[in-house]
């Protein structure tokens, strides 16, 4: 059995990092969360812009925020609420605590304002940090790894070098009993029949068909003629001749193994193997969905050079060309452009796999070194009220 060095959580999941997360239940709590993070810089603040004023997205946002707290890379969480918001700190903390990990909460209005709330938060996270520090890495089976797949700022070579290279890693992990999650519905338009053929049963095939059809319909309904920019045969000048060709270049990240489940945005799958997540193509929101779904690491391919990482999940950047790699070497972890010089894709796959295994064991990605945590961007479908 192949293993990595990870942190075992009470629910049996396996972290590759050991963070104490501080989660605002609502955007109004970001300031207090920031005060806590200034005082205890080792905590990971999950700043976001939601938690109230929405109706349709409430369930999705509750699920997503709670599942971020439940991500295996998080050892313990503090949820800071305001008091009058729709998404309550107590409810989020209770959902996180269901996984068995410590989850504290309080509300700013009840604590008596910003300063007293910050002081209370600092005291709580200091205790959580001390407990988390007692946890040590130990060998855990690779089958507990869930790997997120993302492409952002693609170019004509993404589908030839970086994405098929990542596809090799997907096959490698799935063959070891692990899970990969492919998302970004808009990148699947035109390849529904190919994805359905890979489904492990007719029910999964049906869900794939419905998800891709809905993505295509939504794109047309909302964008009208502008839909062509999203779903047209990519950039014709770049060499894409059909929508199938363009989308195949994206879905090739998921490798070749059967698709076992389709989940909603930010939902934790139960099947191993290749899982599809219904979610947007916008990178930052997509990363949130993957992190909430329980991914401990994310492979992110890029042609134009996107430097973003994620607060609680190491993100590995795979550059589609050597030119981009050299141009943004501080941000790029892997040069997939070597394929254009004759390096076989299998060899690129092995290079990415070796880096991934080191990252699982604790080696920092470029995005981690650069502190490219950013903020938590949440998917939304409707206006706020």
């Amino acid at each position: 059995m192949e293993t990595f060095q990870g942190f075992e959580r009470p629910d049996g999941s396996a972290g590759i990092r050991n963070y104490v997360a501080v989660i605002p239940s609502v955007a109004c709590a970001n300031g207090v969360v920031a005060a806590i993070a200034r005082a205890v810089p080792q905590v990971v603040p999950l700043y976001h812009g939601h938690g109230c004023g929405r109706a349709v997205e409430n369930d999705m946002h509750i699920r997503t925020l709670a599942n971020l707290g439940r991500n295996p890379n998080v050892a313990a969480a503090l949820v800071v609420g305001l008091g009058c918001e729709m998404i309550k700190a107590e409810g989020l903390a209770a959902r996180i605590a269901q996984s068995g990990k410590p989850a504290a909460h309080f509300e700013i209005q009840q604590a008596g304002g910003t300063r007293r709330a910050a002081a209370r938060g600092i005291e709580i996270v200091t205790g959580l940090m001390a407990d988390a520090a007692r946890l040590a890495r130990r060998p855990l089976p690779l089958e507990r790894i869930c790997l997120g797949l993302e492409c952002g700022g693609s170019d004509a070579f993404s589908g030839l070098t970086a994405n098929p290279g990542v596809g090799r890693v997907s096959d490698w992990l799935v063959d070891r009993g692990g899970r990969v999650i492919l998302t970004e519905d808009t990148e699947m338009i035109g390849t529904s029949h190919i994805l359905r053929r890979r489904a492990c049963n007719p029910e999964v095939a049906g869900r794939i068909g419905a998800m891709v059809a809905e993505a295509e319909k939504l794109t047309h309904d909302l964008l009208g003629p502008l839909a062509a920019y999203v779903i047209a045969p990519g950039n014709m000048d770049g060499g894409m001749s059909s929508i199938q060709e363009k989308s195949l270049g994206c879905i090739v990240k998921s490798g070749t193994r059967p698709i076992t489940q389709v989940v909603d945005y930010g939902q934790v799958p139960d099947a191993k193997g290749v899982v599809l997540m219904d979610g947007p193509g916008y990178d930052t929101e997509s990363l949130t969905g993957l992190a909430a779904a329980g991914c401990q690491a994310i492979l992110f391919t890029t042609g134009r050079g996107n430097p973003i990482g994620y607060p609680i999940v190491p993100v590995i950047k795979v550059a589609s060309t050597s030119r981009l790699y050299r141009q943004m070497e501080d941000d790029m972890d892997v040069d997939a452009g070597v394929v254009l010089d004759g390096t076989p894709l299998d060899e690129l796959g092995r290079t990415i796999t070796q880096l991934l295994t080191r990252v699982l064991d604790g080696e920092h990605t470029k995005a981690e070194v650069n502190r490219q945590e950013g903020i938590v961007c949440l998917y939304t479908l409707h206006p706020s009220f």
Partner: protein, 89 residues
């Protein structure tokens, strides 16, 4: 300078150019025999690896990405002028 054609999947009947090629240039491959470019082929575009009859499936990533609008010869540029996009394959 990169010069070898890139084939993504063993079943593919097209390969991708890593740079601009001029008509008459030799296109080499890591595996498989070299071929001669019958037309200019831009960087990142596709070249036919075999002679393709009209209506023949054009395969990349091991999947059908379209069909030949007309007969396409080995070494010819493959793009929207000679590839039909096919809905509901």
């Amino acid at each position: 300078m990169a010069s070898q054609l890139i084939t993504v999947h063993e079943k593919d009947n097209v390969a991708v150019t890593p740079r601009d090629f001029k008509q008459g240039e030799t296109l080499t491959r890591p595996q498989g025999p070299a071929l001669v470019a019958l037309t200019d082929i831009p960087c990142g575009h596709k070249v036919a690896l075999t002679d393709l009859a009209a209506q023949a499936p054009i395969v990349k990533y091991g999947e059908i990405i379209g069909r030949a609008k007309q007969a396409i010869r080995r070494g010819e540029w493959v793009h929207t002028h000679n590839l039909m996009s096919v809905e509901n394959l």
